[in-house]
């Protein structure tokens, strides 16, 4: 494939991101990252965390590129990185698969003249408001409005701007994320401006269907955020006050107006025209909402083989879901490319390590000028001279750019020639440069931990520009501290652990099978443990998907693939009796079929699923016409005559969900009921179908179903938690009474089928949680490593998570997460060996009092107790270096002072502190 590389006009290999160019660039333009709310220069880095951290020139605004004048950056750049002659380049890449992650564009509300976005400075989009709330934003997080820079006291959010709207724009889908981000912004705004800030969110349906979202919504209500169910028509300015009047209808039907000082438009997610064109060039199909078309059983595969998709281009979605998709797409691409794995890898040369133990410290100090970045402020030669006087220092040099390749080579040579056994670099930040210097140590035959950095740039020359003398003094202090620590540092060992190449998947449902299939397709032996006597899990109870697919057919195909797969062993009627070991080296005892068997595996995927709540309410169980959603599916599958003969059907939503005792949304029930209502209407167009709901949560492109159902004549009646429907029997008649929210009067509906959209319950796998040392949340679902960044894995290494065990979700999302879990697992398996960090905690057993605080506190389950039968130090705690992340929590918590963090030991830190004190 060919990719177009736009010119950056800055040579990436030369730019050291010193910022000299930015300082001098005379051209100020609106900062795109800050949504135009602030200014930046024509030469810029998009935002502080950009990777790679290299500058770029905006050719549309650069004075030189436009008028051949200026060129200040070129004159100033200390490394000569500026290249105005750079041209557009076309790179041809030979790739086996492509992953599309082009994202979305926030909807531009300028076209809605009733919202006056283009005219009123105090009407903002939510993405702009996001920057206002950000500490790194244009107001440094200070909440002010644009017209007069006053702190607003009343803010309104208008939902569904550019979403769920085919009248004023052509975006029929729900954008999925706006309800949650609006609530988040309201809560943060209140945090910034104090509790008396009035926040009102105007919405149609509150769609907080993600994990922990409903709780956040409820907490926001408690914090005083107002939620008003009304779509506001227009925003009217109030004279020249900068305030705005909103007219809306209250819950009891009263038309009212209210004045706000700031209005935020919760703009939706849409695919920009250039992406539609890209899709066309690539030959992939889009949905009617211009999102990438995928199959529910292949949620990340585009219509073209080998081309995969993830993120908001696949459909409007939030970060957790996008990250899950990303994992799934990586897995899909990996499966596709499996035969080619490791065909392009090279093995690095290994330099033997010199033993420095028991040698007197010989510290080499390299002071960096960083061009003018450091040397322009700090007297670098003076600092170098000073370093020479410090104890154990044998060699000092100052470099123009320590990080340049030639300096690195010289450093390695110097270390050898001078026989140095500790290295201090006084330069920039270890965050970006420590690994580079450590590579140099390794190349010179030194253990990479015999290294210490003093940050005399970011923490000195940059912040004390106006006090060069004091900055020089501070640089000396920093160097002295680093040297005093360096003299005490010891070489650390990185233990290598073999990763057993087999995987265990617990649960044989759709998630488990997909995870196993992905693992197997990428070449790994996989075991599925299923407690029942058949594969398929909850999906066996489902009839059809909104896509029209018969679940049973797809499931059968999948199960057949699993059974035919030589790399996959299925253990039916089997449960786990015990788990020993840790990442890479688990030993799991399987119990079932009359015996026990020990399985060794390197990773585990928990896909234990969930179950349907059996309602205790709405007279469930008292009448055969009262069904759960799955029971209705069963009747549809069986072509039950009761369906065809029914004249009327009622669905009641949120049965057992969003209740005080189960304060989460089960995510799928709205779509499930809406889909089944369509099925019923299709089977019998004369049937009266009612859906009694609290909020219709047909998020994303599921919104089309909601529209279709309404078009087919399904009647939606809203109720609230305080006035739930009542079910009664009058002789043979089954009657549902619900208070009509428009009229406010009770309405009786006689029905032949009453479907209760009952909650999805977790299986509350407490035993499994204990076995793998992974947590369950209050509701009983497993807790992932990080809601956004690690949704398919646990904080405990080597254990992964997918499907309903994580949170209720539909089949396509379960499959995506299963493949994401497999993908994450493969990042471990593929390494074959894992190297632990040398900077891990270690317990001195003779000081350990066995109190168990570290065992309880560690988020990674690294400390455990030795067996009481062990010959040495029985019962004392020990830390598994393979699991330890070196966070130091246990070190701080240990009353007995038995735990030390290698590389940050007490004596080293004290040496630094005490040598700082010498400054006087």
């Amino acid at each position: 494939m060919e990719i177009v590389r736009h010119p950056r006009y800055v040579d990436e290999s030369k730019c050291i991101a010193c910022g000299a160019c930015y300082e001098k660039c005379p051209k100020k333009i609106p900062d795109t990252y800050n949504q135009g709310l602030a200014k930046r220069k024509a030469i810029y880095v998009e935002y502080a965390q950009a990777v790679p951290l290299k500058y770029r020139i905006d050719p549309d605004t650069c004075i030189y590129l436009q008028k051949k004048k200026c060129g200040a950056c070129k004159k100033l750049c200390p490394t000569g990185a500026i290249d105005f002659d750079m041209k557009e380049k076309i790179d041809t890449l030979n790739v086996g698969s492509v992953v599309l992650a082009p994202g979305f564009k926030p909807f531009d509300p300028s076209g809605f003249d009733t919202y006056n976005y283009a005219n009123l400075p105090n009407v903002m989009t939510a993405t702009e408001f996001e920057r206002i709330l950000s500490a790194s934003g244009p107001t440094t997080g200070h909440l002010i409005r644009m017209s007069d820079h006053k702190e607003p006291k009343k803010i309104a959010w208008l939902q569904c701007v550019g979403s769920r709207d085919i009248n004023r724009c052509d975006n029929p889908a729900c954008s999925s994320v706006c309800c949650m981000y609006a609530i988040k912004e309201a809560v943060i705004a209140k945090e910034h401006s104090g509790d008396d800030l009035d926040c009102a969110i105007f919405y149609m349906d509150m769609r907080t269907m993600g994990k922990e979202f409903e709780r956040f919504y409820e907490n926001a209500k408690k914090k005083g955020v107002r939620f008003i169910r009304c779509r506001v028509h227009s925003i009217v300015p109030v004279g020249d006050t900068g305030d705005m009047e909103l007219r809306y209808v209250t819950d009891d039907g009263q038309v009212t107006t209210e004045i706000f000082e700031q209005v935020v438009l919760s703009v939706g997610l849409q695919t920009p025209p250039e992406l539609v064109a890209l899709a066309d060039r690539l030959g992939i199909s889009l949905t009617k909402g211009n999102f990438c078309k995928t199959d529910p059983f292949e949620p990340v595969a585009t219509s073209r083989e080998g081309v995969y998709v993830c993120g908001a281009f696949q459909g409007p979605k939030d970060i957790p879901q996008s990250v899950i998709d990303a994992g799934a797409a990586a897995s899909a691409a990996g499966e596709f490319l499996s035969p080619a794995r490791n065909t392009l890898t090279r093995v690095p040369e290994i330099v033997p390590e010199t033993n420095v133990i028991n040698e007197r410290p010989r510290v080499g100090v390299f002071v960096c000028r960083c061009g003018v970045n450091i040397a322009g402020v700090v007297d670098v030669p003076a600092v170098a001279e000073y370093a020479r006087t410090l104890p154990y220092v044998e060699f000092v040099a100052d470099n123009l750019y320590s990080c340049s390749q030639d300096t690195q080579d010289i450093m390695a040579q110097t270390i050898r020639e001078q026989n140095l056994n500790r290295v201090v670099v006084a330069a920039c930040t270890p965050k970006t440069h420590e690994p580079l210097f450590q590579e140099t140590l390794i190349a010179a035959g030194l253990n990479k931990y015999l290294f210490e950095m003093a940050n005399i740039r970011n923490q000195d020359s940059w912040v004390h520009k106006n006090n060069p003398e004091l900055a020089t003094e501070k640089a000396m202090d920093l160097v002295r501290m680093a040297v005093s620590k360096a003299a005490l540092i010891q070489p650390l060992k990185e233990t290598a652990l073999n990763v057993n190449q087999a995987a265990l998947v617990i649960g044989g449902g759709v998630s488990g099978m997909n995870a196993a299939r992905s693992l197997s397709r990428q070449g790994y032996v996989t075991h599925i443990v299923e407690k029942s006597d058949t594969l398929g899990g909850q999906a066996r109870n489902l009839h059809t998907l909104p896509s029209g697919d018969k679940v049973a057919d797809r499931l059968e195909k999948l199960a057949a693939q699993i059974e035919a797969d030589e790399k996959i062993t299925v253990h039916l009627n089997t449960t786990l009796a015990g788990v020993e070991g840790f990442v890479g080296n688990f030993k799991t005892t399987l119990a079932g079929n009359g015996g026990e068997q020990v399985l060794e595996h390197g990773v585990a995927v928990i896909a234990t699923g969930g179950q349907e709540y059996k309602p205790a309410e709405y007279r469930y169980g008292e009448d055969p016409r009262i069904l759960t959603s799955l029971e209705l599916d069963r009747k549809l599958m069986d072509n039950d005559p009761a369906i065809e003969s029914a004249r009327s059907a009622v669905f009641i939503q949120c049965v057992g969900s969003r209740e005080p005792e189960r304060p989460y949304c089960s995510r799928i029930c709205c779509t499930h009921s809406v889909h089944n209502s369509i099925e019923l209407k299709r089977a019998n167009p004369d049937m009266n179908v009612f859906i009694l709901y609290r909020d219709v949560r047909t998020y994303g492109e599921k919104e089309y179903l909601y529209r279709e159902a309404r078009e087919l004549g399904v009647i939606f009646v809203r109720f609230d938690l305080e006035h739930k429907p009542e079910v009664r029997k009058d002789g043979d008649r089954l009657i549902v009474r619900v208070i009509d929210h428009v009229l406010g009067i009770p309405m009786d509906i006689e029905t032949d089928i009453l479907t209760l959209a009952s909650a999805i319950l977790p299986n509350r796998e407490e035993k499994l949680a204990r076995f793998f040392k992974v947590p369950l949340n209050e509701d009983g679902f497993f807790v992932e490593k990080h809601a956004k960044l690690g949704p398919s894995e646990f904080a405990t290494d080597g254990v992964f998570l997918c499907g309903l065990a994580h949170y209720p979700k539909p089949i396509d999302e379960s499959i995506a997460q299963a493949r994401a879990a497999a993908s994450r697992a493969i990042t471990l398996l593929a390494r074959e060996k894992i190297h632990t960090s040398g900077q891990v905690a270690e317990i001195n057993p003779s000081w350990c009092s066995q109190c168990g605080t570290c065992v309880s506190l560690c988020p990674y389950s690294a400390p455990t107790f030795r067996s009481p039968e062990e010959r040495f130090w029985p019962g004392k705690a020990e830390i598994n270096p393979a699991l330890c992340k070196g966070c130091g929590l246990c070190v701080a918590s240990c009353r007995s002072g038995a735990i030390h963090l290698k590389g940050f030991d007490n004596d080293q830190i004290f040496a630094q502190i005490f040598s700082m004190n010498e400054a006087g």
Partner: protein, 49 residues
């Protein structure tokens, strides 16, 4: 213990919040400067005759 509460501060500052870091550092510095040098809980260096 008699140490002024103003000598101890806690703050969450993410790696992206450079301005907040600078602000907090300044606030803490000013708060501590306002208190003046610490007189309590200070171990005198052993006086050698």
């Amino acid at each position: 213990m008699g140490l002024e509460p103003g000598r101890l501060h806690f703050s969450w500052i993410s790696s992206a919040e450079s301005t907040k870091f600078a602000r907090v550092a300044q606030e803490v510095t000013e708060a501590v400067k306002a208190l003046g040098p610490n007189r309590h809980f200070l171990k005198e260096k052993a006086k050698v005759a």
